[in-house]
C-alpha cells in the first residue's frame, strides 16, 4: 500500500526515505504535498500559471535540500509555506498587481447552475478583496482562514510572534469586510 494511503508516516519521515533513495517516496511526497503547495500559491497569487511555476520551484527546492534536512528542526509543510510565500512575494513585486484570471471550471452535476455561479462570484469577490490586502495580511489571513493553520504555526512560518499573527489576521479580516461591504446583494447575502 502506498505511504500516503496509510497516513501513518509523517512528512519528515517520508522525506528522509526520499533522501535515502526509497523508490516509493517521490510519488508519495508528490501526491501529499503538491495540492497543499499549489493551493496556497494559487490563493496568494490568484493565477494558476504562476502558482504552477511557484509550486514546481518550491518542491524542487525541497528535493534539493532533502539530503541535508535536519530532523526535528521544522515541519516540512511549515518550511514549504515559507518558501511559497517568499516566491509569491517576489512575483507580486515583479508584476505589481494580482491578476485574477478566469479559468474554465470543470462541470459539476451536483450543484445547480445558479448556485455554481454564485459560489464562483463569491470566490472571485474574496480573491479580489484579498488582493487589496498587504502581502503580510493576505498571507496571514489565507494561512489562518483558508489553510486552517493555528496561530503558533503561522507565527513560525512568517517568523513573527503569535500576537503579531493575531493582529495581522484581525486587521486583514476587517479590511476584507470593508472591501466586500458594497457587494452583499451581488453575493447573495440579502436572500432570506
Amino acid at each position: 500500500m502506498p505511504y500516503d494511503a496509510q497516513g501513518d508516516i509523517t512528512d519528515e519521515a517520508l522525506l528522509l526515505r526520499y533522501a535515502n533513495g526509497d523508490p516509493a517516496a517521490p510519488a508519495a511526497l508528490t501526491r501529499r504535498l503538491t495540492p497543499r503547495v499549489f493551493g496556497h500559491a494559487y490563493r496568494l497569487l490568484g493565477d494558476r500559471a504562476e502558482a504552477e511555476d511557484v509550486t514546481q520551484e518550491a518542491l524542487m527546492r525541497l528535493w534539493k535540500i532533502a539530503p541535508e534536512w535536519r530532523r526535528g528542526e521544522a515541519r516540512v509543510t511549515t518550511w514549504l509555506y515559507r518558501v511559497v510565500a517568499n516566491l509569491c512575494t517576489d512575483r507580486v513585486r515583479r508584476r505589481r498587481a494580482v491578476a485574477l484570471e478566469a479559468v474554465e471550471e470543470p462541470a459539476d452535476d451536483t450543484a445547480s447552475m445558479a448556485q455554481r455561479l454564485q459560489d464562483r462570484a463569491r470566490v472571485e469577490a474574496l480573491g479580489a478583496a484579498l488582493a487589496t490586502l498587504s502581502a503580510r495580511q493576505r498571507e496571514a489571513v489565507v494561512l489562518r482562514h483558508i489553510e486552517g493553520l493555528g496561530n503558533p504555526e503561522i507565527a513560525e512560518i512568517m517568523q513573527i510572534s503569535v500576537e503579531a499573527v493575531e493582529s495581522l489576521t484581525a486587521r486583514g479580516k476587517r479590511a476584507l469586510a470593508g472591501a466586500l461591504a458594497g457587494r452583499r446583494e451581488e453575493l447573495g447575502y440579502n436572500d432570506d
Partner: protein, 132 residues
Amino acid sequence: MTDRKQDTHDPGQLDELFAAVRQDVRATPDAALMARVLGDAVAMQPPPAAVAPHRAAAGVPGAGGRWAQFVSAIGGWPSLAGLGAATAASVLAGFFASSALLPDSLSTLLSLNDDSYLLYLDQAELFEPEEI
C-alpha cells in the same frame, strides 16, 4: 481605533466566503503539474548508493573506509578469497610437511647424525676455490 469603525461585517458571511474559496477547484493542481513535480522528484532523488558515506562515517564495516579501500585495491572480493585460500594452503603445508615432500639432498641432510654432518662439511671444503 479607526479599524473598529469598519468592523461592521457579519463574521458568518466571511466564513462562508472562506469556505467557498477552500472548495474552489481552481486551487487544485492538474495532472500535468503533478507529472512535472513527480518527474523532478524522481530526477533529483539521491540514489541509494549515495548513503554509503554516512554508514562509513559511522564505522560500519563493508560500507566504505579503509577496509573497503583495501578490498578494492586487491581486486575485489574474488581476489580476497584467493588470498585467503593461498594463506590456508601455506599453513597446512607447514604443519604436515614430511621428508617425503622435501628434495632428496635436503632430506638426507636433515637425517644425518653429528659425525656425518662434520664429514659433510669437510668434503665441502675440498671443493672451495683456492685463494688468489
